[in-house]
């Protein structure tokens, strides 16, 4: 397997210019969408079938009555344990040799199970193609030695691309620096490959706790429920089965009919 690649989004460097969002649209030929009034500068409120990179504008009320921004360029996390991938019945969603998660548009049949199985609500359904869409990690670019379009376009290096291991080390140093500068809540999200979902191949540096950015604190793989729920269904089956056997069994007492 090739080196695991990653995107590291350092939100402390983001200036909210949305160059990444635009570069993603251009490279991936994603259509324009009607703007959506979200109450903040953020547009759209969430990923869509035409928006794979999305700059979030999180407004923080300050003691003096003003608002401060927390900015975050959000994207598919390319989880090491990906709910979307495990859910896909057609095998359209696959892991590339770089560790990224991609949807083969020629195989997807539009069952939409992945849409409900991503712990981050990333995958979106496209009515025109009838298939599921999400960030491809610029699959065509990385297979030609280039980084993703968003990382290339980012003027502040808020989005960095490279070998996962190198980026994690870099990110950890950056957290130290920020802490020393007084950003006491600076933390990494998804960098730990022993952490939730086996680590995210698109991981983040946040300046506040994940929930501030509307990120789940401890996302879990949806498929974890299958075993227990199936066993409980079997218990249910045995109960109904035994009931029915008894109902049909009492031959001695006649049919029980009126």
């Amino acid at each position: 397997m090739a080196t695991t690649l990653a995107m590291f989004t350092d939100t402390s460097l983001c200036i909210g210019c949305r160059a990444c969002q635009v570069a993603c649209k251009q490279w991936n030929e994603l259509g324009a969408e009607a703007p959506e009034w979200t109450g903040t500068y953020q547009n759209h409120s969430h990923f869509t079938d035409e928006t794979f990179r999305l700059v979030r504008f999180v407004e923080q009320p300050q003691p003096n009555g003003n608002l401060a921004w927390l900015l975050m360029s959000d994207v598919c996390k390319h989880c090491a344990q990906a709910g979307c991938l495990d859910a896909c019945p057609t095998g359209a969603i696959y892991r590339t040799e770089f560790g990224t998660v991609n949807i083969n548009q020629d195989v997807c049949n539009g069952c939409r199970y992945c849409v409900s199985s991503c712990p981050f609500g990333v995958v979106a359904f496209n009515e025109d193609t009838g298939t599921a869409k999400k960030c491809t990690f610029c699959n065509d670019r990385i297979h030609n030695g280039l980084g993703p379009a968003c990382a290339k376009a980012c003027p502040t290096d808020s989005i960095q691309f490279g070998a996962r291991e190198t980026l994690v080390t870099k990110a950890q140093k950056r957290v130290e620096t920020l802490k020393a500068m007084g950003f006491k809540d600076a933390q990494l999200y998804g960098a730990d490959s022993n952490g939730f979902l086996g680590g995210l191949n698109a991981f983040f540096l946040l300046l506040s706790k994940p929930s501030t950015y509307n990120l789940p604190e401890n996302p879990r793989l949806p498929q974890r429920n299958v075993v227990v729920d199936s066993l409980l269904s079997i218990v249910s089956a045995v109960a109904v089965g035994v009931g029915a056997v008894f109902a049909f069994r009492d031959r001695g007492k006649g049919d029980g009919d009126a």
């Binding site: 019945p89 539009g110 359904f125 496209n126 729920d229 109904v240 009931g243 029915a244 109902a247 009919d257």
Partner: protein
């Protein structure tokens, strides 16, 4: 920040009819194997009912896809931990069982009957699977309420059994099956399934606690309590116990059970998607 899949009425119908198909087949196979010769009719109706229902389920499943022509892609992989994947396989296999059992149900030769019974016992497993996997499929998503419901599959299974039996008894009523034909036994089994379903439903809600809010408050609450609990379970149970000597009452109760089964799927699927 989560997304719902926008599954709509076709999925509700699929879940509902799949439950009946599984329940009817299972009832038929039990009647076939454990009942007397008078229960033959129950067995035949159950087998013959499950066959078209499975066929309709297949059509619904295909039509609901974004690209229906690619439905065979479902069989490109087999993921035993993925309800959507094994579900598609199991639907196909169960379809074969319903077909074979239906054909064999017309035979009266002893050896065919013996074979049909054995096939029925294996087919039961797939029938149960079809009735319950749709619940597990919902609980294996990332969405709240669905993924919090540990008993979703168990509840769908109990409902599949009670609606399957109700459907059989309704057909017996409509085709004027005589009193020797096992009507009383189907009804008895159905009463048991309904009581069991009520118990599972109670535990289901107790385990969910506040996670059950999508169905317990807001626009779906009335449908849940009134439609499923009262009209779909309590009233039919009362009818069964006070009026089980009258066939018409039994038929009415069967209709209500079917209505309740549909409402269960509707409320569960639609509540968090609206």
């Amino acid at each position: 920040m989560l997304k719902t899949p926008h599954w709509e009425m076709m999925v509700v119908w699929y879940f509902f009819l799949g439950g009946i198909a599984g329940g009817a087949y299972f009832t038929a196979a039990i009647a076939d194997n454990f009942g007397g010769s008078r229960d033959r009719r129950v067995a035949q109706i159950g087998y013959l009912l499950s066959l078209p229902l499975v066929a309709i389920c297949g059509v619904l499943l295909i039509l609901d896809l974004g690209v229906p022509l690619r439905f065979l892609n479902m069989l490109r992989s087999f993921k035993f931990w993925d309800p959507m994947s094994i579900g598609a396989w199991a639907l196909g296999v169960f379809g074969l069982f319903t077909l074979v059992s239906s054909v064999l149900s017309f035979s009266s030769s002893e050896s065919t009957i013996a074979l049909r019974r054995k096939i029925g016992l294996v087919g039961i497993l797939f029938g149960f699977f079809l009735a319950s996997y749709t619940g597990v499929l919902l609980s294996a998503t990332a969405l709240p309420f669905w993924s919090d419901a540990r008993l979703m599959g168990a509840l769908f299974l109990a409902s599949g059994a009670s609606t399957g039996m109700a459907a059989i008894s309704l057909i017996m009523f409509a085709t004027g099956a005589g009193s020797g034909d096992g009507w009383g036994r189907v009804k008895k089994a159905d009463r048991f399934s309904m009581i069991f379903e009520l118990v599972v439903l109670a535990v289901f809600l107790a385990l969910l606690g506040s996670a059950a809010r999508p169905i317990l408050s807001g626009q779906f609450a009335a449908l849940f309590w009134g439609g499923l609990v009262v009209v779909g379970l309590l009233i039919p149970l009362v009818l069964e116990f006070v009026g089980h000597r009258m066939r018409a009452v039994g038929a009415v109760s069967a209709v209500l059970v079917l209505v309740g089964g549909f409402i269960l799927r509707y409320v569960v699927v639609m509540s968090i998607q609206s």
